[in-house]
């Protein structure tokens, strides 16, 4: 890291644009930065900030309609920005390599693991087959994959997400490149896996002295893992500097906002405790959910889960993928008949509901989905989406109905002008607001939120969380909130259930869960949350509104 040494990567005044129809839209406007040998540089920004395009340009993998308009990219001292793709091929994999975003789709599904790792070696033509196989096994061992000799004959679908990411890392380090571009390498993974993968990248970097360009939307990850941070917004660098410096004293307003919006254990302020004696809104007792398998056996997704939610409070159901958290709340929302146990919402036994009763039950319980891109009918306007529940129940006159829709849209903070738009013309945050409006227009008692903010950028995430808290306070709503993100949970929840492999391993108030008294698994989850290097409570941020009133 001595300044005398030439940087591995030196990007100067980079301008990138994409062709759209007859015109070109610039997405990166004059970005300059360097990556020194052995250094980890984090490229941080929200969606549309140009971080991924910049990273793609460095490895020469811009989409077909993309182009470097001006600027230079010096890799190991050579300007590659004008190189032909044929020439670029020689350095890809060998000098600069990629750890992609989505391990699930980044391996060829019909090729064995061994063949895919070996391919890098083959392309840069060094070895015979036996020697290559030996190296592949060595590589897989070095990325911590168990039973590498078995793995090389397996196909991607036989591996878990974390294992796939390890394979991809093995591919990236196979030829000991000078620079690894890690493009959101862990955002699709559970926190515990995320942590192990990031540790692995860090270890390998240290071992090989490779530089890493870490592209991430997660400021916490960047804070924990990088030497320097570059904050991008709208294709321009807002701020760059040593990570400690930027975190400690951000110079730029946008950086400050990012920092304050980022959920993290350190900055999150728990809500005031709820007073005892509130009536119970939701009761889940000994919930069991089995799914039949094709083989005739059954798979138990939820095994004996019990909790209660007091009216006007938020209960968080926490767990990693496959923990049964989504299954639990779908049962509460009446989308699945539990195999055993009891669910009561108010005075209704959800299990016993028949079709028309179930339909009436929807007035009381509403579900908001994780993905605002999939949960809104692309063929409806915002007006029609929010209006639909009213049409299903209340035979209101047209003008009253529209007035309620308008009021609700206004309540979730959307301008009335959006009413005639269709969902694909909205941003992600706007869509989730529409989904919330649809859920609330029936004035339900209980809203079940399934990872309702995890698909959103941090700033938007913070806004939605604030909105949810406000609505709870104003309308006295009861939330059942599913999340994998403990930082968010700590911010918004009053009580928490932690699920692991279908079983409830911890249940209690937020304070209890985050106390050392929690089970080992819960503690491991908490440990894995990134952002430990965040300055403690450096940025003041008002706590979310307290639990709702008893109306």
């Amino acid at each position: 890291m001595s300044p005398v040494q030439a940087p591995v990567l030196d990007v100067r005044d980079l301008v990138l644009s994409y062709r759209q129809g007859d015109e070109r839209a610039a997405v990166v406007h004059g970005v300059s930065f360097t990556v020194e040998p052995g250094e980890v540089v984090a490229l941080v920004g929200e969606s549309g900030s140009g971080k991924t395009s910049t990273a793609q340009a460095v490895i020469g993998l811009l989409a077909e309609n993309g182009r470097i308009d001006s600027g230079t990219i010096h890799l190991n001292g050579e300007d590659i920005s004008r190189w032909s793709s044929r020439r670029l091929r020689n350095i890809r994999g060998a000098v600069v390599s990629l750890v992609p975003q989505d391990p699930g789709n980044s391996l060829d599904p019909v090729m064995t693991i061994g063949a895919q790792v070996r391919e890098t070696l083959e392309i840069h033509g060094r070895l015979d087959r036996r020697e290559a196989d030996r190296q592949v096994i060595e590589l897989l061992t070095s990325v911590g994959l168990s039973e590498p000799a078995l793995r090389i004959r397996q196909y991607p679908h036989e591996l878990s997400g974390g294992m796939k990411q390890r394979v991809l890392i093995a591919i990236a380090i196979a030829l000991r490149p000078a620079l690894i571009i890690a493009d959101e390498p862990t955002s699709a993974l559970d926190v515990t896996v995320q942590r192990r993968i990031l540790d692995l990248i860090n270890d390998l970097r240290r071992e090989y002295g490779t530089s890493v360009l870490l592209v991430t939307h997660d400021l916490a990850v960047a804070a924990d893992r990088s030497d320097r941070i570059i904050v991008l917004q709208g294709g321009r660098i807002q701020e760059q500097g040593r990570t400690e410096d930027v975190l400690a004293a951000p110079q730029n307003a946008y950086t400050r906002k990012l920092l304050s919006d980022a959920p993290s254990l350190a900055t999150a302020r728990p809500r005031p405790p709820i007073e005892p004696g509130r009536p119970i809104a939701v009761t889940v007792r000994n919930l069991v959910q089995d799914f039949p398998l094709q083989s005739g056996k059954t798979f138990r997704a939820v095994d004996d889960v019990s909790f209660t939610v007091a009216r006007g409070t938020t209960h968080a159901v926490v767990g990693e993928s496959g923990s049964g958290k989504t299954t639990t709340i779908r049962a509460i929302a009446g989308f699945q008949k539990p195999t055993g146990g009891e669910i009561r919402v108010g005075d209704l036994d959800v299990r016993s509901l028949r079709s028309e009763e179930l339909r009436q039950f929807r007035r009381k319980v509403q579900l908001v989905y994780q993905n605002p891109w999939g949960s809104l009918d692309p063929r409806q306007t915002v007006q029609a989406i929010v209006e639909e529940p009213l049409l299903n129940f209340d035979p209101l006159p047209r003008d009253q109905r529209q007035a309620r829709v308008r009021a609700m849209i206004d309540r979730v903070g959307l301008p009335a002008a959006l009413l005639s738009r269709s969902p694909h013309a909205l941003s992600g945050g706007q869509r989730q607001r529409v989904a919330i409006a649809r859920a609330l227009v029936l004035e339900p008692d209980v809203v079940v939120l399934d990872e309702a903010v995890s698909a959103l950028d941090v700033t938007v995430q913070a806004q939605i969380l604030t909105l949810l808290a406000e609505l709870q306070r104003d309308l006295g709503l009861t939330y059942v909130f599913v999340s994998h993100d403990l930082a968010i949970v700590r911010q918004i929840a009053d009580t928490v259930s932690v699920l692991h492999n279908g079983r409830q391993v911890d249940y209690g108030t937020v304070d209890e869960i985050f106390s050392p008294a929690a089970t080992a698994y819960t503690r491991e989850l908490i440990q894995a949350i990134p952002g430990r290097k965040f300055p403690r409570a450096a940025f003041d941020r008002p706590p979310l509104a307290a639990a709702g009133p008893l109306s």
């Binding site: 129809g21 989308f335 999939g374 009918d377 692309p378 409806q380 639909e388 529940p389 299903n392 989904a435």
Partner: protein
């Protein structure tokens, strides 16, 4: 990303003054792929032929000029005349209504029956689904041409019957597509959300499943439209199409082929017309398929 950007761009341009209204239309047209514009042009022309054939030709498609038979293309007869001295261009123009209505009827049969089957199978699932889809398999298992020929013999000859026969063979395709679309859409979150909003099955089907399934079905309909024209003309070729002297295109090709040694235009030109129209239908289908969200 790109969709949002292009959307914003469009709203920007609409804000500009109305004076340049037609210029904008022209600009929008210019943005369309040339092939698509041509395809619509072809289809519009053919529909006009079908609707108002008398605007395009002064000749009678059925009454020929005895003695003026088998004349090569000339200024008087753009595409020459056939063995009875009838103007080929007039027969093509007047034949459009037969070929188009035949194809529309055929596709209609396939679309309505097939989509209904697929809709029921896809939304009912379970045993109903299995039985219906095996039934569709049976339809697919019988060679289509044999099926249409048998149906025509059964129903008797005529443009409409040929159309029904072709439509019957199209049912299976529509049913399969509709079912897979319904299953896809049914599993979409917004459909569950609609149930969650208290929607009854019928309402959700009508408001969400059907409209969202339709794009690919419509695109497929356009393809099938072209396919039906081909099938009907194949039936005409085999002698099972519209009865003469109907100037149906398939029949024109079929009848004209006997004169190839002497009057090549009698079969070549109708063939090219069919190719062009089918090509246009396929091109439009592709554009529908792409525009789906």
């Amino acid at each position: 990303m790109t969709t949002t950007d292009s959307f914003l761009h469009v709203t920007d341009t609409t804000k500009q003054g109305e004076t340049a209204g037609w210029l904008r239309v022209l600009a929008a047209l210019r943005k369309l792929p040339l092939g698509l514009v041509l395809a619509w042009l072809v289809l519009t022309t053919v529909v006009l032929w079908a609707a108002m054939p008398w605007l395009f030709t002064a000749y009678d498609p059925l009454q020929g000029t005895p003695g003026g038979q088998l004349k090569a293309p000339s200024a008087a007869h753009l595409l020459g005349t056939d063995s009875l001295g009838r103007d080929l261009f007039a027969r093509l123009v007047y034949g459009a209504v037969h070929s188009l209505s035949g194809a529309i009827a055929a596709v209609g049969v396939g679309l309505i029956v097939g989509s209904a089957l697929g809709l029921v199978a896809g939304s009912a699932r379970g045993r109903v689904d299995t039985v219906l889809m095996r039934l569709v398999d049976v339809l697919l298992a019988i060679p289509t041409l044999l099926l249409s020929l048998s149906i025509i013999i059964l129903l008797g000859f005529g443009t409409l019957h040929a159309a029904i026969a072709v439509g019957a063979t199209a049912i299976a395709g529509f049913a399969r597509l509709m079912r897979s679309e319904v299953v896809r859409v049914r599993n979409a979150e917004f459909v569950e959300a609609a149930f969650g909003s208290g929607g009854t099955f019928a309402r959700v089907l009508w408001r969400h499943i059907l409209p969202n399934s339709l794009t690919s079905v419509i695109a497929y309909t356009a393809v099938q439209f072209g396919w039906a024209i081909l099938q009907i003309s194949t039936l005409g070729f085999l002698g099972y199409g519209a009865p003469p002297p109907t100037p149906e295109w398939g029949l024109l090709i079929a009848e004209g082929r006997n004169y190839l040694a002497t009057a090549w235009w009698l079969t070549t030109v109708p063939g090219l017309v069919v190719v062009t129209v089918v090509l246009a239908a396929n091109r439009i289908s592709r554009s529908i398929g792409r525009s789906s969200p």
